[in-house]
């Protein structure tokens, strides 16, 4: 079995499944050693305050406490961030949200650590806070960063096409609405964790992270240590979803280890600490106005979006820009005026989360599309098909689509599906006190970093002395299965099975920089680099083997599992024998790939380009949700869900299906129950007992199909599949509720209470069809 050559397109269990299911795979949080120390953080607990004094003397006197560190002990810039470096490792002048870290304690064990943290007292002067993104931009609002010349504004972006707002003058019908979307917690199984050791002048940090190479530079600069002496090791993450795309424990662990040389130090946030301190999906407020001609052809779109980024950038500018770029959905709209603001507040930190700003805008746009369909008396499916983007069109952000564009095909597949065809009959058979409805949503997701930040991967593959192919994976597998796919890619090219391959997970000392595991770019970018590296390796092996076996040339040679064969004579040579003859340099192949960028310039604003606009490769999806609403309790149950996805060629259908189902599950949580509630910056849902994620029995059976258009830039025709499924569920469910009951819930999530409230308010004579 393990000798069977890996092939592209074959459904196969991911190769990491066995080690993970049996507990053999070690995550960053799994590390233990006899002399291990524990590090932990004292957090502010108030949303906005000036720090006068942090009293640490009681803590340091507790036996078993080794260090109590504050910002004064941070020798570097004490600032972290990817685009804007504004987040302190340990807060110095001010507290900007409840989760800000003020002191770092290192102790012999967890009990002593807890006691020491409790003994630290804070002398802080509370400041008026700002908790609403629109109020935050008003004159006189309290400032989160006094030094920011733009007040509480992090980023403002604007895209205009055609006649912009003037396009509405030519429209027959206009619909508008305001949508409010909640903050969403990542809730990964493995909370933020890692361990570090400072030994032989090297600071080694093992962390649950999506971005080891960037962390190395970011942490080194923040804590003031030579980057070249920092090594970051990134095991598989126990989930990340964007929440580990950046620094969580890394700098703190570095500080803790530097102050306690020779001993391993571990940090592992409790669930409550994770919810308090980690970044979340940005709460958003979206004003949408869509105009169309009588025949349902979209003509104008005006959008104003406010993203609450909390107190720090944390890629919030980039999230906002991606939301802005996707705000018009996968439609042809000639006249657009799209505006977005990312605003600082004293709420929890907004940051990257699967979809990266796109789930918010899709929730709003796709509901607006249904409102237009209803206004014009056109079916929600027809209006989407009519306006769906085709290759060669410009998208609402003004980018020419030069690659595969499968949204139309996705919608046609929904229309032809059994679930959709039978939905009218199913809806009519609803039981007492229940109303059934079906809803659609289209979605798209751009891939990669955009035009300015090089979206690059460096692949490396080695033929070991034992005759195995070792793939050096420089980009993290946070659970999505990309590492497994890398072996599949190399196995396909080199005709090897799993038993002939090895994998090295990201390690700044062993693998090559390949960017973050994010932006639906991971397999696309690294996969393309690995294809070149593997082909180069194959060519060299066949050439050298053909010389050694006195063949006429490499065209007579082929690789088979564990061996190279001379086809005419049938003579074979074990790869281990070939490896023994080759020099070290010949046994290694490296290749670099950079994702091309769009050639349009939809914006002259260099800041927007820096934040990623425009993208060139997009995945697409059409989703259909089938819901049953209980009119007595307001509970919405999703009874069926269909996702049709265009993410190019599917390399391993099992991994693809897992990504789609996971995205739908997270999207349904976002739609129906997940809501990080805050009251003046204080989280009211501090644990998983109050922050409600769906359980398996809250989720429907999901059907998933792929529209496997070939994307010529993609590795074997692939486009990214990691995020796209997150975008559709919210609007598909909202549209299904509207179909069922004639109500629309403009504030998410659509909890039973909100649905029942809307049902109570609805005059019963105005029921929607």
């Amino acid at each position: 079995m393990k000798d069977t050559p890996l092939e592209i397109g074959r459904a196969a269990p991911r190769f990491d499944a066995y080690a993970k299911l049996t507990g053999k795979e070690k995550y960053a949080s799994d590390f233990y050693a006899p002399d291990m120390l524990w590090a932990g953080v004292k957090r502010a607990g108030v949303p906005h305050a000036r720090i006068r004094w942090i009293k640490t003397d009681d803590a340091i006197r507790i036996p078993g406490v080794l260090s109590v560190l504050t910002s004064k002990d941070v020798r570097g810039t004490n600032r972290q961030g990817v685009v804007r470096k504004d987040q302190p490792v340990l807060a110095d002048d001010k507290v900007r949200h409840c989760g800000d870290p003020l002191a770092l304690v290192v102790a012999e064990d967890r009990e002593t650590l807890a006691k020491a943290l409790a003994s630290i007292s804070l002398d802080i002067e509370p400041l008026p806070g700002v908790f609403d993104p629109e109020n935050a931009m008003a004159q006189g609002a309290p400032l989160v960063h006094e030094e920011n010349p733009e007040g509480n504004l992090l980023l403002k972006g604007s895209l205009e096409a055609g006649m912009g707002e003037k396009g509405f003058e030519e429209c027959d019908e206009t619909v508008e609405a305001l949508f409010r979307l909640p903050s969403q917690e990542h809730a990964y199984l493995e909370t933020e964790a890692g361990w570090a050791i400072f030994k032989d002048d090297i600071l080694e940090i093992t962390a649950s992270t999506q971005s080891p190479f960037r962390d190395r530079y970011e942490a080194a600069e923040a804590i003031g240590f030579d980057m070249h002496k920092v090594r970051i090791i990134a095991p598989y993450c126990g989930g990340a979803f964007g929440g580990k795309d950046g620094i969580t424990v890394q700098s703190l662990l570095g500080l803790a280890a530097l102050n306690n040389p020779g001993r391993p130090v571990k940090m592992w946030w409790a669930r409550e600490e994770s919810i308090l301190a980690s970044a979340k999906r940005h709460p958003a407020r979206l004003y949408y106005k869509l105009g169309a001609k009588k025949d349902g052809i979209f003509h104008a779109l005006s959008v104003r979006i406010y993203f609450d980024t909390g107190p720090y950038d944390n890629l919030g500018g980039a999230v906002t820009a991606l939301g802005l770029e996707h705000s018009g959905g996968p439609y042809r709209i000639p006249n657009t005026s799209l505006k977005a603001w990312a605003v600082f507040t004293n709420n929890p930190i907004g940051g990257p989360f699967r979809g990266f700003g796109v789930p918010q805008v899709t929730a709003a746009m796709e509901q607006t599309v249904d409102m237009m369909a209803k206004s014009l008396g056109i079916s929600p499916l027809d209006i989407r098909v009519k306006n769906a983007l085709r290759r060669g069109d410009r998208n609402p952000a003004g980018t020419t689509l030069t690659g595969s564009t499968g949204i139309g095909e996705c919608l046609r597949k929904i229309s032809a599906s059994r679930l959709w065809q039978e939905s009218e009959t199913w809806k009519k058979a609803s039981p007492p006190f229940k109303k059934r409805g079906a809803g659609l949503a289209s979605a798209m997701q751009g891939m990669g970093y955009g035009p300015l930040i090089p979206d690059t991967a460096n692949a490396k593959i080695e033929l070991t002395q034992e005759g195995l192919f070792r793939v050096f994976c420089g980009v993290v597998d946070m659970g999505q299965g990309n590492a497994s796919t890398y072996l599949q890619i190399a196995g396909e090219i080199l005709n090897q099975g799993l038993s002939g391959m090895e994998l090295v997970l990201p390690d700044t000392a062993r693998t090559l920089p390949s960017g973050s595991s994010s932006a639906s770019r991971t397999t696309f970018t690294y996969g393309n680099a690995l294809i070149t590296a593997s082909k180069t390796m194959k060519k060299r092996l066949l050439e050298r083997a053909s010389d050694l076996l006195m063949a006429k040339g490499p065209e007579e040679m082929t690789l088979v599992p564990g061996r190279v064969r001379h086809i005419p004579s049938g003579k074979e040579m074990p790869l281990s024998a070939l490896a023994g003859i080759l020099s070290d340099a010949e046994r290694t192949s490296v290749a670099r790939y950079r994702t091309p960028s769009a050639k349009d310039s939809p914006t002259r604003d260099p800041n927007l380009s820096l934040h990623g606009i425009p993208h060139i490769v997009f995945s697409y999806a059409a989703h259909a949700a089938f819901v049953e609403v209980d009119t007595l309790t307001g509970l919405t149950e999703v009874k069926g869900f269909l996702a049709v996805t265009d993410c190019g060629r599917v390399l391993n259908p099992q991994i693809f299906e897992q990504q789609i189902q996971g995205g739908i599950a997270q999207g349904l949580g976002y739609a129906l129950c997940e809501e990080l509630k805050t009251d003046r910056g204080v989280i009211r849902t501090p644990d998983l007992g109050t922050y409600i994620i769906p359980t398996s029995i809250d989720l429907p059976d999901m059907e998933s199909a792929a529209v496997e258009l070939h994307e010529e830039m993609g590795p074997f025709g692939l486009k990214g599949a990691g995020e796209i499924a997150m975008n559709g569920p919210f609007a598909a469910v909202a549209n299904a509720i509207a179909d069922a009951c004639g109500i629309r819930i403009f504030e998410g999530p659509m909890t039973p209470e909100r649905v029942l409230g809307a049902l109570e308010k609805k005059p019963s004579c105005q029921e929607e069809g």
Partner: protein, 293 residues
Amino acid sequence: MRRVFLANNTNELWDMLRQYPEAAIYAGGTDLLVRMRKGICDPSALICLERMDCLKGVREEGDQIFIGACTSHTALLADPIVQRSFPVLAAAISRLGSPHIRNMGTIGGNIVTASPAGDTLPPLYILGAAVEIMSMDKTRRLSLADFIRGPGHTDLKPGEILAGVWIKKDQPYNIFSLEKVGQRKALAISIASLAALLRVSGEGIIEEARLAWGSVGPTVTVSKEAESFLAGKRPEPGALGEAARIAMDAVSPIDDVRASKSYRRLVSGNLVLRLGASVDGNSPQPAWLPPAD
């Protein structure tokens, strides 16, 4: 360091309680350990009852059934007596927590925690359950309604433990309904719930109704007024609607992070409307009880 004691029998238990009168007593720990982790309580010692076999199991005694306080929810769900005689209780337990919580948690714990949202409480109220309380020198019995004094408060005195619950075996009802409204289908704390037992005549007239609401007051809410209003009526929208209005006046819910007061009140009434569907056999949780022998 906190001491943890595991009592194997009552003699050991009374010894431990004498030595550590301040100890917190628990069985599965699904409530207490969570509260300790949150820092809500910090008992100096713990006494665990999970090894006390004398407090486990379901047995018949005359016309009564005794359920030992340390019987786990999972054991109750599997118990043929509970399934046959008290399906309304089984239905409530099946919605309690999740399989792993039901494996650890016990009926005694659910009662003693006395949460307004305790899932077993509304069915136990309408089944007329009584609790048996044991101390070193005596045993006493009182009705569950008298035992539960308020949120988190019971009539349990120092040196006493809850030994179990007595429920009359033959209940004069032929219809039950149990509905729990939570934020999700499992691992959910009730926002509002309604347990109902009805005796409906062959002609479709409600002869007797017992109704109890959970999570909409400091303790379980009952409404004699709604019950007597329904008696003699058909379970039709008009009568149920009036009973729902009575119910909405009877409950006294609060706002919390899970739901608002007004939602809880509205749903308390709306759940009554579904009783008609239970009688018709269309509800997701309807069932006919076997005829009383």
